[in-house]
Symmetry: C2
């Protein structure tokens, strides 16, 4: 086994580490007037509206370093934030990244994390413009804030859905959740028998859904191309039920969701059944798929014939509020939707 | 002893807690189009430049809950961020607040923290527009991002200082550091003898410098009134030496700082001497004073005669880079300035 170089963070110090991590940044956007290196970054969103969102990821709550490669973690930390910007029908432009680092992390490990961050900045075309770096007495802490820009008349909020609007989703659901179940299962197997090799073959798709999710920028580009402004939109981080109920509650509507319309990948279904989980439950309550859930006026339905390669699934429709929010099952029964998505507060009870 | 109500966070859940903490928010700025409650906040900075900065505060590294009241901690978390916005000669307008909460924290404790956050939002006239709330397996984590706006031609960066510019500071230094030393001393006394009462009388000023620092918004207002644009500016979070060296290194200049000009409050000096610390060292290396350090052209010197109640101290001048960066002591010796400010990375070695 070759020796992996490990430089202690303390050898660099705060400013040395910041320099080490940021000296190769090349700013891409004309809206980024000043990036890393001053008290604050300076941005110019003339004529556009500014969109801002933030997410906090904590070791042991949001990720487990025993099976999460640091590069993927860095990538995902950016993805979850730009996904929120897309969910406003806006375009991400800048991010800030704050890190709390435990002293057991080497500079090389932080470099791996940053490799993922920079790869996501490249793919999603955002400038890293600031942040804060500190030590942590405990686990790794990652706080990312994303800024984006949008046209005022095109921004999609959660409160604009209207009765008869169609409910759309940009891809299959439940995969990220089953990826997590698989990783947790293999972790338990390994704990019982460290000689055992993890059995992950054939599960590439759902593992990538969990470990390297993507935000759906091409869906935002498609909406722009088709000239469709969703009446409401949200990204699916906590599960379909929970997100759809957010839209209904903020729009003061109800909904009907059809079990047979909800897209679930065959790998997801197969593993769910193997583990004794109803596949549809992984879609309703699983979370972390980062697909976009949005509603459109029926008048816009025809436009999606030009969607090309991008599958947009119509999974139900919006109703009057008094009709409630229900899943219509394959047996044609109506089951009330409940927000049982992943809850980072309850999770820790 | 009366019983303090303690509601477990899990009773509310993530969305319940967010609603509990944010349902009384009143947005004040026309630039805040949409605050808490969607995937992202939406802001409108038409004609102004957007300034963004972020800070991460971790329990055990940045604060000690054994002597930090939660309300003060919430207030300070906002202060350290708006201070960075002022240090750009800009005006803070919005903040986002992300919290990682350990399960031992009650809802009432989080309310106290938020009371401080809201009090600072009120005083600094900023809207709370978003954030993220999650549980933490370990200590309390607070990540704040502040956004502000400024006129392009008035923004003050770190790299604009010119030889012969005067070096100014907006208030006395070292107080926050000595406040921390005092709190740490009393904590040790208490640990040795829990019957002992903390002896904090006569130290109100330095304790408030540590526990309830203020960002210098009135200095920014003064600069505007006097029609002075600093050639460079930074806020003092890590100590005067470290911050001045940032300005010199980014501006490619040197400096002369005069020991007898550096403002140190008598309480700070007295306690420092009692503890065997050179008072000037508390100012040079102490940090957390959140005063503004800036440089002005000599032509602007006269304008400060109209500064009214606000004391601006001239503590030195900028030189050519080749002349180096030195402190001129009271004994008229030149001592090279070194960045020995508080280092959140080294701190944890």
């Amino acid at each position: 086994m070759s020796e992996v170089k490990k430089t202690e963070i303390g050898q660099l110090g705060e400013f040395g580490l910041i320099h080490h991590l940021t000296n190769n940044i090349k700013l891409k956007h004309s809206s980024t007037l000043k990036g890393v290196g001053d008290d604050a970054a300076v941005l110019d969103f003339t004529n556009k509206k500014t969109v801002v969102t933030t997410d906090l990821l904590l070791e042991g709550i949001h990720f487990d370093l025993t099976y999460t490669p640091l590069k993927h973690l860095g990538y995902k930390a950016v993805v979850v934030n730009v996904s929120d910007v897309y969910a406003m029908n806006a375009t991400p432009k800048q991010i800030t990244v704050s890190l709390g680092l435990s002293s057991k992390m080497s500079v090389e490990a932080i470099d791996e994390l940053y490799e993922g961050i920079y790869a996501a900045c490249e793919y999603y075309d955002v400038d890293l413009v600031g942040g804060d770096t500190t030590s942590s007495l405990t686990g790794l802490t990652i706080s990312v804030t994303a800024l984006g820009e949008g046209d005022k008349e095109k921004l999609a909020y959660r409160d604009g859905a209207k009765p008869n609007d169609l409910i759309c989703v940009s891809g299959d659901l439940g995969g990220a959740y089953m990826g997590l179940q698989l990783l947790e299962r293999e972790k338990r197997v390994y704990a019982d028998n460290p000689e055992a090799q993890p059995d992950l073959s054939g599960y590439d798709y759902i593992l990538s859904r969990q470990l390297k999710p993507e935000a759906r920028k091409e869906v935002i580009e498609l909406l722009d191309k088709l000239n469709v402004i969703p009446s409401s939109m949200i990204d699916i981080s906590d599960g379909l039920s929970s997100e759809l109920l957010h839209i209904c509650s903020q729009s003061k509507t109800g909904c009907r969701l059809y079990e047979n319309k909800i897209p679930v990948d065959p790998t997801t279904s197969m593993l769910a059944e193997e583990m004794g989980i109803n596949p549809i439950v992984t879609a309703l309550n699983g979370g972390e798929d980062y697909e976009l859930l949005f509603t459109i006026s029926q008048d816009d339905y025809e436009k999606f014939k030009d969607a090309g390669d991008i599958n947009i699934y119509i999974i139900g429709h919006i109703t009057e509020e008094s009709k409630g929010s229900y899943l219509v099952t394959n047996a044609d029964q109506e089951v009330e939707l409940q927000a049982q998505g992943w809850n980072p507060i309850k999770n820790n009870d």
